[in-house]
């Protein structure tokens, strides 16, 4: 139930679209309105991004303080001498008043200072700088692979199963992709290591050392996404195939290839792009487990290590970076979509 004031939409044709008005408003005004609307949308998105970033920063700051008890004591263990705990607490500034700590923390993050590791004394920023590129490479490769394989696959399935023809293909496609979506990345990883690396010895089982070592992690990371994107592409394509302009294009007897590539594909791109963005963020998260299995020197391996070993500054820094990447990717996708398709609001495709 929403308040009538909050869901007040014009029940009639929205003013922006001069629909059926006897005298269409001059095109120039329409142009300017569209540009202005696109700009307004972009500004809104950027503001939203800034707010989210602030919330994220606060949350990552709060994390260390929400840990029950004394995080330094928890990290160093019960046997650590009290002086060491006090010294470490003071070094971290944890004995200062909260507001002061917050200002120091935010100031540090903004200048690239994420603190130092409890365990190794290394600056967290260096740890991140060394590992982030490896994680990003993995996630980007997997995203590219997923899109390249899945979009044609989904379109093919849609064209073949349109209006319920080829029930067999539809059923097989639905069952196989439905099952493939349900298996998480780390199980693919384990299976790939067990069969292709340990069993058959075709690929190295772990590490990052030459092109061959990329194959299994990228594969493990992208199989589920391929299934997911193929499903979504099929749904989107089916919807497009049912539109009047596709009927009209068929009435014009356009060749099938032209029809699908020129009329259908561009209209599914909005959804595909949105998916691609969501995918990249979910793959960055999925890479945590994949990196762990393949001992990939990325952020994911580090975050697991830091959590199990209670190295809180590292965990805090890495989570902050992950969160920031997610926000940046979402912002970029939103802005690109806004530029591509100023008429429609972003389709929210639930992952």
């Amino acid at each position: 139930m929403t308040d009538p004031r909050t869901d007040a939409r014009p029940p009639e044709t929205p003013p922006e679209i001069p629909a059926g008005a006897p005298a269409a408003r001059p095109a120039r005004t329409a142009d300017r309105t569209a540009v202005r609307r696109a700009l307004r949308m972009a500004v809104r998105r950027i503001v939203r991004f800034a707010v989210s970033l602030a919330v994220l920063l606060t949350a990552s700051f709060a994390m260390i303080h929400l840990i029950p008890g004394d995080p330094v004591r928890a990290s160093l263990g019960p046997a650590a001498p009290i002086e060491l705990v006090q010294q470490r607490t003071a070094a971290l500034g944890l004995d200062r008043p909260l507001p002061e700590q917050f200002v120091t923390y935010v100031g540090g993050v903004l200048t690239g200072d994420f603190g130092t590791s409890f365990l190794t004394g290394e600056p967290v920023s260096e740890v991140i700088a060394a590992r982030l590129p490896n994680t990003l490479t993995l996630a980007l490769l997997a995203t590219a692979m997923a899109l390249i394989v899945a979009v044609p696959l989904g379109m093919w399935a849609a064209v073949r199963t349109e209006n319920g023809r080829n029930r067999g293909t539809e059923v097989t496609f639905g069952t196989v992709t439905g099952a493939a979506v349900a298996v998480p990345e780390f199980l693919y990883s384990i299976a790939l290591v067990a069969v292709l690396a340990v069993g058959l010895g075709w690929f190295p089982p772990a590490g990052k050392d030459g092109p061959l070592t990329y194959v299994l992690p990228v594969l493990a990371l992208s199989i589920g996404s391929i299934a997911m994107i193929a499903r979504i592409t099929r749904v989107e394509t089916l919807r497009e195939l049912g539109t009047d302009y596709v009927r009209l294009a068929r009435a014009k007897r356009l060749p099938a290839l032209r029809l699908h590539l020129r009329h259908v594909l561009p209209n599914t791109l909005t959804a595909t792009l949105t998916m691609g963005g969501l995918l990249l963020t979910s793959l960055i998260a999925g890479s945590v487990l994949v990196e762990y299995v393949f001992a990939w020197p990325g952020l994911g391996q580090k975050i697991v290590e830091s959590i199990t070993q209670k190295d809180y500054p590292v965990a805090q820094g890495v989570i902050l970076v992950y969160g920031a990447i997610v926000l940046v990717v979402n912002l970029v996708v939103d802005l690109v979509l806004g530029a591509l398709d100023p008429t429609s609001e972003i389709k929210e495709v639930a992952a």
């Binding site: 009538p4 007040a8 939409r9 014009p10 029940p11 009639e12 044709t13 629909a19 008005a21 006897p22």
Partner: protein, 225 residues
């Protein structure tokens, strides 16, 4: 009932612009206009569904019947439950059959679900539900817009009978001038948020005063011969 200086704005867009209208008791005011003219916004403002500026006086109870009878009935409620919604529990058993009778539906329909009814029947159920709220003013927004012509006549007749029998005041909205002329006592023509002409139905149709009304009348398709 009186509408005075009513405006509806959505963001920077003014859908209804300073409209003043009178609806005497027992009168049917017809509202015509094309899409984007603001007629539906006016209906929603009068019904209290959208915020507005200006004053509406003398209409304590307003009920509304919507255009799409497929969207305006809760699919999970029976006809009886829908019609009895605004009625106190102890009177429901007697009121629901009476209301169904008013809209010329058999009382047995009370146990059915909307999906079992035709479009015309659904629209009657929606009208019965509105009557259950004992309205001083009934707002009918394009109520025959999604009905077939052969069904439309019966619904329009029903609206006229209800007016005659119950002395109901009505705000009757349609894009179809012929339909509005048939049902309404006075007609207000809306164009771009403003009422450009308001007068007795026959006069507006027979001797239109405003250019836009004339254009609208000229565009109405007619059978030849």
């Amino acid at each position: 009932m009186r509408i005075e200086g009513l405006s509806v704005r959505y963001g920077g867009f003014t859908a209804v612009d300073d409209v003043t209208l009178d609806i005497p008791d027992g009168h049917v005011l017809g509202l015509v206009g094309e899409s984007g003219s603001g007629k539906s916004s006016l209906a929603r403002a009068v019904s209290g569904l959208v915020p507005y500026t200006g004053r509406i006086t003398g209409a304590p109870r307003v009920q509304m019947v919507f255009q799409d009878p497929y969207a305006s009935l809760d699919p999970r409620m029976t006809v009886g439950e829908t019609v009895g919604e605004g009625i106190v529990k102890r009177r429901r058993a007697t009121e629901v059959p009476r209301l169904l009778g008013l809209v010329q539906l058999p009382a047995e329909l009370a146990g059915r679900y909307p999906r079992e009814l035709s479009g015309g029947q659904r629209q009657r159920v929606a009208i019965a539900r509105a009557l259950g709220g004992e309205p001083a003013l009934l707002v009918a927004d394009e109520i025959t817009g999604s009905l077939d012509v052969s069904v439309q006549g019966a619904v329009l007749n029903l609206m006229r009978e209800l007016r005659d029998e119950l002395g109901l005041s009505m705000l009757f909205i349609s894009h179809n001038l012929a339909v509005v002329r048939y049902v309404a006592d006075t007609i207000a023509v809306m164009h771009r948020g403003r009422v450009v002409e308001h007068g007795p139905a026959e006069q507006v149709v027979g001797e239109p005063a405003h250019d836009y009304t004339r254009a609208l009348l000229a565009a109405v398709p007619r059978l030849r011969g």
